[in-house]
Symmetry: D2
Subunit: 317 residues, 4 copies
């Protein structure tokens, strides 16, 4: 990248306080009877911090938040916020159907001492842009924490339009967006339209170099649990304008990402993807048990072995 | 209906223990600051019992369950179960994303003393038929209460196939289905395929006569909050084989049901429909305040007045 | 049905000129090399007329219209209109993406001498209610033939709202609707809102008794190719107010309709459903060859044998 | 881009015969009475060739192919192929519901002398991966021309999976893909998995720099009608490894692309987007009339004026 006005200038666009860098959505290790395995969880946090990540995002989709009862959510918050002790910011997902239920989760997260909240649009109910605006405005007003919109149409069944995000950003309601929509055209529209202090984070595992190239501030890759060093190298290369090296790192991670399809058609995409992340963490010796929450279908021995082959090919075993 | 082998024989198909009749999904009245208005709620329960309903369903979609924090859900359960004191069965919705979270709601409902549980397939996560089977099996095994599947594709984004329902019915996992899919062909397939003791309940407001005609055991109409007497008359006519009278009652209710569209395009369907039910209950003097939970858009005075005109036309004011 | 003001009065609602009764969507028999098999087609027409059907609908979805090149569509029109010679009305599907292409098909149909046209909303393009209105208005204005809207969201990915249908009916643009949406609540809304002369036809195979009970004027069942006598008996019973007999006939046809799932998950729903209809016509000796158009997956011998078992169970072999 | 092993090596991946560069989907200018305006069409072709484009794609979505009767499609083919006279390759869309209808269009295109065909998966029918494979195999086998898969889920309602594309590429059935899915993660999977001679073309207007950066071979932007010089500059910068300049050009085009939303909510996305392209071509003096085909809603004078402002801001007026 010969041009010094290139992506290196992007953090300036994000503003001094904007969240940047690699922010993995932390998996939630479980014991064989599906309790939160706090020892494995702190080892996982150490693994991520050792990898050089810039912040942590707990209770997102990759954390199996949809499967965690409130007591488990609270255990995760307390464990991670306590263990991190302010070394990096910790964001918390407050994932639930509507504002009043989200506010309950937000209160718990606030008490735990998180640095920011991540919320989707309402789901399950039939919603409307005006209701989505009210939803985010109420959460921001009642919590006082930086609020990040989580754009995940595959789960929420609503796409957050760029214009709505930019409107709420201009109002000061939103501090950023985690875009897991896969729509990099929409991502770019937000990047070019936002003002300072608004963080654009891609949730993609496989288009991180190009998202950073477009001016995104950071990345929240589920696969970052398995290989935080890889995503940190990728972001560092991008930060130094070494785009070819960034791309090669990204292409290695694209191949590693194939583990999420190891479960094939005999289970849902959540079972396969989250099961593969946990199998990889287990095979790498970071967590004690690869179990996922019910009603997910567990990976069988053959599938776990295939995850191992991908890890070996990626130089991670 | 001159033929004595007609719909009158349907209850036999449902079996001696099957749930039958009119089972309204009870609205959740709120105070102006969005707390559960327990005084209005008990008045609403009295209104429904006076209307002759056969059972009550609390914490369903028409109850704004998606908008109720856990404490409000518990308040509703305690208030209604306590007030009903066993006069009729009370079913409770246990609506959440996945099995572990649903089981938490089920424990609360069990403690409150409900007669049965109503659960959807997993949502928010990407799911699979095998996971849906595990989900219902675990809920049934862990609670011991009659379990009703709630088929609501508009919210859950999965349609429960007839074959899956019948398989779980044959296993003894499901005691019935509340079908709010609008797919009366699928409803009929379940009716013709089920064995004794499995209740088929339609969630439709507008095809109740035809569902009963096909052999459905009961009906769970949101509009039954507003006009329980109407639905009870409709079901009674059907039970006596007076199908023409049933149809005339149904057609009156179809016209009344137009209130759910009073909010037009300036709000979502949940805001408009639930707002209209509550406005009607308010105008009829049954609840103190027509407020709905955030982030729903409230009906304005003009829209409430139009609800009133529909009530007048239906002979309810 | 003891009440003389019952369904027997429905034809009056439909008006003197309204289309009523059983109107099967005629399958398109093919030779092994996928040409239109006009000999088999005329035999099929004779079979349907002998069954007592009230009209014929060619070039609908059950006719594999989506798979027929224009020359084949024309061959079907000429063969059927010529062979029928005015014994019953012949409606023609004019299925294509937008108005200008639909108008081309309409001109061909007009030349062939059909009695009415059946058109969907625009598809493939991103559309809008205003464009749907313009679409139907232009087709009606340019052809002068009775125009029936074809509501088939599974193919068109738009649901025609009742209000839009009623608006175009009131304008005189639409002569009726073929509702294959499966949404019998919406069907009822149209039935109760329409004026005289507007035909409401259900495309369902499995809720015909209830649709007629609600006041529908007729039925367009793909399965009517296989068993026209059954649907004609069903409609006749309904017309005489013998609803219990109508229901028993319908329930027999519901069981027969299971043939559409004979292909399971190894093919798409069109391949399985249309393949089963043709296999049944072949096994009944009405058409010479059960082949369907590419790229559909053909039924194998085992699947065809299972169609045969269903036919036997229905008393059709 | 200092690294010589960078994107400059991409053409090698695509192979010697692979299609590369800027390939605009040519708009179809119309007379006020909706006939093909062949004089304007040849002027538009000259404008694109003068802009330096590498090939032309006629009868795609931006050409209003869904609105063009067969005679108009033929007129477009004859006009463009004749006028181009082999200066650049001309690809033709053969957009229709299923294989037999697509083959009819393919025969016409073959006679006109095009260089390649572009086909979607089947639509309108309920389809299946096995049927999609058969569809593309038959088209390739029967025409002998290079066949490009058109991945456009917004129209076709099926996403072509990377694995399916790579399988058909390895078989020699597909010569490339035009990816208009907006899913750049899937695009990358195809890029990294394909062998030589398979062209990956993005249909995006707004992520062209990043698609080329990932290794895409070319771009098919509807907006390239309005500003071919811009896309040619963008691709040329990318080819020379001047990525920062490529990005600046892309960001200018992202802002220009806002014209597609000029119609707002009073029309569908096709009306607004295609109307804006034609309004821009009209304002730039390239076509005589901005009319679009029915039933699209035409842009009004105010909306056309706003297109003009965007053109001025982009330096195009």
């Amino acid at each position: 990248m010969p041009d010094p006005a290139g992506p290196a200038s992007t953090p300036a666009a994000g503003g001094p306080s904007a969240l940047t860098g690699v922010i993995p959505p932390v998996c939630t290790p479980m014991t064989p009877d599906h309790e939160v395995d706090t020892r494995s969880l702190t080892r996982l946090v150490d693994h991520l911090l050792a990898g050089g990540v810039d912040a942590l995002f707990v209770l997102g989709s990759s954390s199996e938040v949809a499967y965690l009862p409130d007591a488990h959510r609270r255990a995760v918050l307390d464990t991670v916020v306590g263990h991190v002790s302010g070394q990096v910011p910790v964001l918390a997902g407050v994932i639930d159907m509507t504002t009043p239920r989200v506010l309950d989760h937000a209160r718990t997260a606030l008490e735990a001492g998180v640095s920011g909240l991540v919320a989707t649009a309402p789901f399950y109910t039939r919603t409307h842009p005006e209701e989505i605006r009210t939803h985010f405005r109420l959460i921001a007003a009642r919590t006082g924490l930086p609020l990040y919109a989580y754009d995940l149409p595959v789960s929420v069944h609503t796409k957050l339009p760029a214009a709505l995000l930019l409107e709420l950003a201009a109002e000061g309601v939103l501090a950023g967006v985690k875009d897991s929509s896969g729509d990099d055209g929409g991502l770019r529209e937000v990047i070019l339209g936002r003002g300072p202090g608004f963080s654009v984070l891609t949730g993609s595992e496989v288009t991180v170099d190009s998202a950073l190239w477009m001016g995104a501030d950071g990345v929240v890759p589920g696969l970052g649990n398995v290989d935080p060093h890889g995503y940190v190298r990728l972001a560092a290369c991008a930060g130094r304008g070494e785009w070819e090296a960034a791309r090669q790192e990204q292409e290695r991670l694209v191949r590693l990402f194939e583990i999420v399809r190891v479960g094939g058609t005999r289970m849902g995409g959540s079972s396969s993807g989250l099961g593969a992340f946990k199998a990889a963490l287990y095979l790498r010796g970071i967590i004690d048990c690869p179990v996922t929450a019910p009603p997910q279908v567990p990976l069988n021995d053959d599938e776990i072995a295939r995850v191992g082959k991908h890890l070996a090919a990626a130089g991670l075993l």
